[in-house]
Chain length 444, copies 2
């Protein structure tokens, strides 16, 4: 009974079972999520959903990143949509799931509504990530052909987190998973049109998770074998599920630690060259004017997806290794605010871009996608030849970011939304989350 | 552009285009829906969803069959769930869709909220049925293996009806269909457990339709080819869609008239014998005590699904041709209130049940499922031999019910919820729906 095993895991996991590194890592996931959620809050898709829930009305149970409060499941909708807006939220490679944007809005809304503790929230997020990642791995790769894993598998994760915070019993958790799974949805078709569906999906998934858990608490029943049953999620929505992925080391290894963070506000395939040039610049104290030539050796997919030599829009610049490398060297970073029209037209950056050459490296290609490597060769005007190689972008578990990196990212992402005092207060609050006894206020 | 064709159809259809018989038939669909919605309102799954939306809160925009008002999309949720509870709601054979329970709760909620006219409501319901039936036929039969057509295809129908009432333009309707389609959900897995999911599905589908239309009105965008696109609904959720079903005679034939009604409160396979014995009883003025033997000749599926000779629960009695035939002869009907513990234990009914024999008829079997026929042979104590054959249960388009049949059904279904005056007032109101200029109150 696979769904039952998951329910039992969700039910029995306690804060005390989490190793210190899992707790600390989870705090960083929450901080990183909050940065994305605040950064996205003024964009149109989020504002439309906010206008929708304002029109519907609701009891002021949980806070919105856009300001104010609404009912707990509507808060999950808007905050979920907001945190997927600027595409800087976390990603789990093996399940292809952005977990934060679905699981954390569900969890923080329920935690605030039911006045849970920081430890409760951390436990719920750990459990939610675990459930989503495991289901996502089980249905990969075929599910992803049509379905947006973040939304579909994320619904189970959001439901798990909400159920944990509501302290449901095992039977109620099975029902929660049943209701969540039969409502799991999200087709990739929107990608052809670049529609706002991209933000709707995580928001709705978070909302469904909360709905499933609260109705289950009231006695609503659902399918008991929603994952493995003959007319369930696996049979209907992928070619052949690998059920072992769900139970392998369940409760022994918390998979949240496999999560990757994005430091740079661009396509993931641009990250390794950015990492390397920033490292070289720091080590050798290089000014952009010192550079004669930069050769980025990479794999084919990076060239195809992030190979724009001459991007004409801010959006396209995020898929241009030459721009990303140049802006990083000129500005010292490739954060959200480094991708703008001014920088895109900056003659110094344009000049530097022309010195960047992107080439296919057969050895690197051979290792992809096991490794997402890059080799950067830099030639300086004084004749020095520098080069550096990296196997994984910074933020992957194999090349982890530091707490300071993520705090800096948070500060930059929220600088136009929060005062310095507010930013510091948020960082402090989340870093001490395990000591907070009652989470009665999240964004106010 | 298939989705675009549907959007254009939804946009351009006007009340003036509907033939009088379509208008009259649609009123009966609405009356029949209301009966089911009121009859289901006190059951546990509905009451739990009501408790959920009460907890969430919402602006009082649309009325609930359970009493009171809530936000328009939450009203669609509860009223949708309620109208699928007693399993007496309508059914379209070719698409396997119960349309009323999804489309009408969405439509009446939006109509009340936006103070639309009776003609607007009728037009929206016609369009909603058409869209749902067409999509359901396009994905049949493979979709039904895993997916609850009523919920998945119904979501598009609810969205179409809501969009029509909101007077969206064609572009907004395309976006509505995109958002609705990417949220279309509902797996059959719950059937293994008899879970409350059965009621959740139509309620959620109605809710999603309303959400999709209102957000589209505010500018939210969705996939433009949600049905036919390479990662859209058809590709992801059935083996091979027959796209011609969507556009065949679109705008020329309104498919709502293909709808079937259920008069008797039992499994559809019991209906033909019930119809025949009631007809024989009326024609020959037969008392139950006059009967020596009844032989019901039917097809194999009816025997397998509705063959219980000795049902032990009220639920099982709805799947017992002997009980259904006996109760109809004893009570003159097989309505919702004829299926109860008292009748199940009634010695007269029990006695009559023993005289009912159900046998496979090879000729009838050969014609199934093209025809759902039955032949009843009745032998009386005075030696007379009566027999009558029917090709379709009453309520199918091939064997239509009268307006009076449906009004009587409505009265019986709502007798413990409404006073006689209220019932008559509802019947009057719906029969004059095309003359109502502002639908500002539905259930209060």
């Amino acid at each position: 009974m696979l769904s039952q095993s998951l329910a039992s895991f969700i039910h029995r996991t306690k804060y005390e079972y989490l190793e210190e590194d899992v707790v600390q890592f989870t705090k960083l996931c929450i901080l990183d999520w909050l940065g994305s959620a605040l950064a996205g809050s003024h964009y149109k898709p989020v504002q439309i959903l906010k206008a929708f829930i304002d029109e519907m009305g609701g009891n002021p149970q949980a806070s919105l990143v856009t300001g104010g409060k609404t009912s707990v499941y509507q808060a999950a909708l808007v905050n979920g949509a907001s945190s997927h807006m600027v595409e800087l939220d976390d990603i789990h490679k093996a399940s292809i799931i952005h977990a934060a944007t679905v699981i954390i809005p569900a969890a923080v809304a329920v935690a605030e509504y039911r006045q849970k503790s920081g430890q409760d929230l951390i436990t719920a997020v750990v459990v939610g990530y675990d459930v989503a990642f495991r289901i996502g791995e089980a249905v990969s790769p075929s599910h992803y052909r049509y379905w947006h894993n973040t939304a579909t598998c994320g619904t189970f994760g959001a439901a798990a987190a909400a159920a944990k915070l509501l302290e449901l019993d095992e039977e109620q958790i099975i029902n929660t998973l049943g209701t969540a799974g039969t409502q799991a949805a999200g087709l990739w078709q929107f990608i052809d049109d670049g529609a706002m569906t991209k933000q709707l999906h995580p928001g709705k998934a978070a909302m469904e998770g909360v709905l499933a858990a609260i109705t289950a608490q009231k006695g609503f029943t659902g399918a008991k074998r929603i994952l493995e049953g003959p007319r369930g999620f696996f049979k209907a929505m992928c070619e052949e599920a690998d059920e072992s992925k769900v139970t392998q080391q369940l409760g022994e290894v918390f998979k949240i630690k496999e999560n990757s963070f994005k430091i740079h506000a661009s396509c993931r395939h641009t990250h390794q060259p950015i990492d390397v040039v920033l490292e070289l610049q720091k080590t050798y104290n290089i000014a952009p004017a010192d550079i004669r030539h930069i050769r980025v050796r990479t794999y084919q997919s990076a060239i195809e997806i992030a190979g724009y030599a001459n991007p004409e829009s801010v959006y396209a610049s995020k898929f241009s290794i030459p721009y990303c490398v140049a802006v990083a060297l000129e500005k010292g970073s490739a954060g959200l605010d480094d991708f703008n029209e001014r920088n895109l037209q900056d003659p110094n950056i344009r000049n530097l871009m022309e010195k960047v050459e992107v080439v296919l490296d057969p050895e690197i290609e051979e290792e992809y996608p096991h490794k997402w490597a890059s080799l950067v060769e830099m030639e300086l005007n004084d004749g020095r030849q520098l080069s550096q190689h990296v196997d994984f972008p910074k933020g992957d578990p194999e090349n982890p970011v530091t707490k300071e990196d993520l705090i800096n990212k948070f500060k930059r992402m929220t600088q136009d939304k929060l005062s310095v005092e507010q930013t510091n207060s948020w960082v402090d609050k989340i870093m001490k989350l395990d000591q907070i006894r009652v989470l009665d206020e999240w964004f106010e």
